[in-house]
Symmetry: C2
Subunit: 254 residues, 2 copies
Amino acid sequence: MEDPDISQASGGETPASRAGTTGAGRSGLDQRRILDAAVRFIDENGLRMLTMQRLGAYLGVEGMALYRYVPGREALLDGVVETVVDELFSDPHVHLEAHSGWVDYLQRLAHGLRRIALAHPEVFPLVATRPPAAPWVRPPLRSLRWIESLLGVMTDAGFSDENAAAVYRAFSSFLLGHLLLEVAAHGVETGPVEEPDVSPSEDLSDYPNLQRLEPHLSVDAAAEDFEEALEALLDRVALLLPRRRRPARLTKDK
Amino acid sequence: MEDPDISQASGGETPASRAGTTGAGRSGLDQRRILDAAVRFIDENGLRMLTMQRLGAYLGVEGMALYRYVPGREALLDGVVETVVDELFSDPHVHLEAHSGWVDYLQRLAHGLRRIALAHPEVFPLVATRPPAAPWVRPPLRSLRWIESLLGVMTDAGFSDENAAAVYRAFSSFLLGHLLLEVAAHGVETGPVEEPDVSPSEDLSDYPNLQRLEPHLSVDAAAEDFEEALEALLDRVALLLPRRRRPARLTKDK
DNA sequence: ACCTGAACACCGTTCAAGT
DNA sequence: ACCTGAACACCGTTCAAGT
């Protein structure tokens, strides 16, 4: 009744599926087109500006027309999340098959998701907080195909079922925390258009440490932090394997 | 103009401040009372049910009455986040002064925030995603007082300014990722009231690894995961200190 | 001084009606 | 087959009016 899964086309009668041709009506409307437009709209105008009527206008249509292809606003947002996460499939730097070992695999997956987060900073909070379909679907890796893939790679590499699941959980937490904070920092600089008014950086007189450390806190070390934390996580994961099977040079030598 | 800081009472003329007595009008209305009621309302009914009119009714008042004490809905939400995070100050297990070393301090802080997240699972996504006031205010540790406190403890313990800032960033990412995923998992079990219909756990026939690992994925290991990841983070942080000053038994002996 | 009624602009959603 | 106009219930917010 609520949140009917969008784009799971199994049995779902969409106008396009009925029409024989993959084509569209006179307005070129289409579920794919609507979801893609929604992503672009959020990228350009921010999540809070997305409204059924405005998205309709963005598509040259009257807003209620969207309900022919989308069950409602909630389902639309679910579709937006799915659309954005699915970009991982077409990322040339993240080849499912062409990885050399689980370390390489997890690194590519992590960087692929980071690229998505940075490409859609306004969408990412949605990826992070939308209630998942199943309890074990953890943001930001919300695709069954990728979870399956990750678990397969890990178990093939010699991790026990328990450990593979633990790695999946740790990996999700790491990605979610880092990426959500990185896009939030991105947003706060370009975000609310307020004039600094009188105080250029508020009143920090009561906070001497904050005041002294402000230069250190304001530098954007997101990329380095991400890399370091990822390496630390991989080191920790490697310890789950019997010594013999551990990849050799995990501890950076640079 | 937007998001005027609530409860920063400096110069803000509230009815209570004008009335001499700390008391209230005939309805007992009050900014504190409104924010506390909003938190309770979200705890009980969920964030998406919170509306000005419903919150008004919850307080026995007409909804527009709230605008006398709160600039608007956005500011109300900011106030809710601040209210919940401020619970850390009155947590008896998290004493600012009575800590023995930075390890103990970070552990107490982490567990205090985890307690808050679990106490208000419906509020926490708000804590996680509300745009922070300054770029270096990172969720979920959104209080200037606590950031100041953390930086002070770390530098006093011998960490450089750069390293103290790095620890603050790593600590925030760790907390955000773990706690957001933990409350999300909590919500998905009690969340949407759907009937399982026909398929008790969807169709996993195309995902053999998922299918086989489902028991491992469904167990709630949040507490253990949190503890382990926290220990790993503390170990990693300790390496930033010169060997001499490192706390002795960080690697668990259990 | 504090709350309410009425009003405004906007929202999501449904459905009969147009083409 | 596809889109729109009109309608409904609900929002956030403002403000003159009540007590």
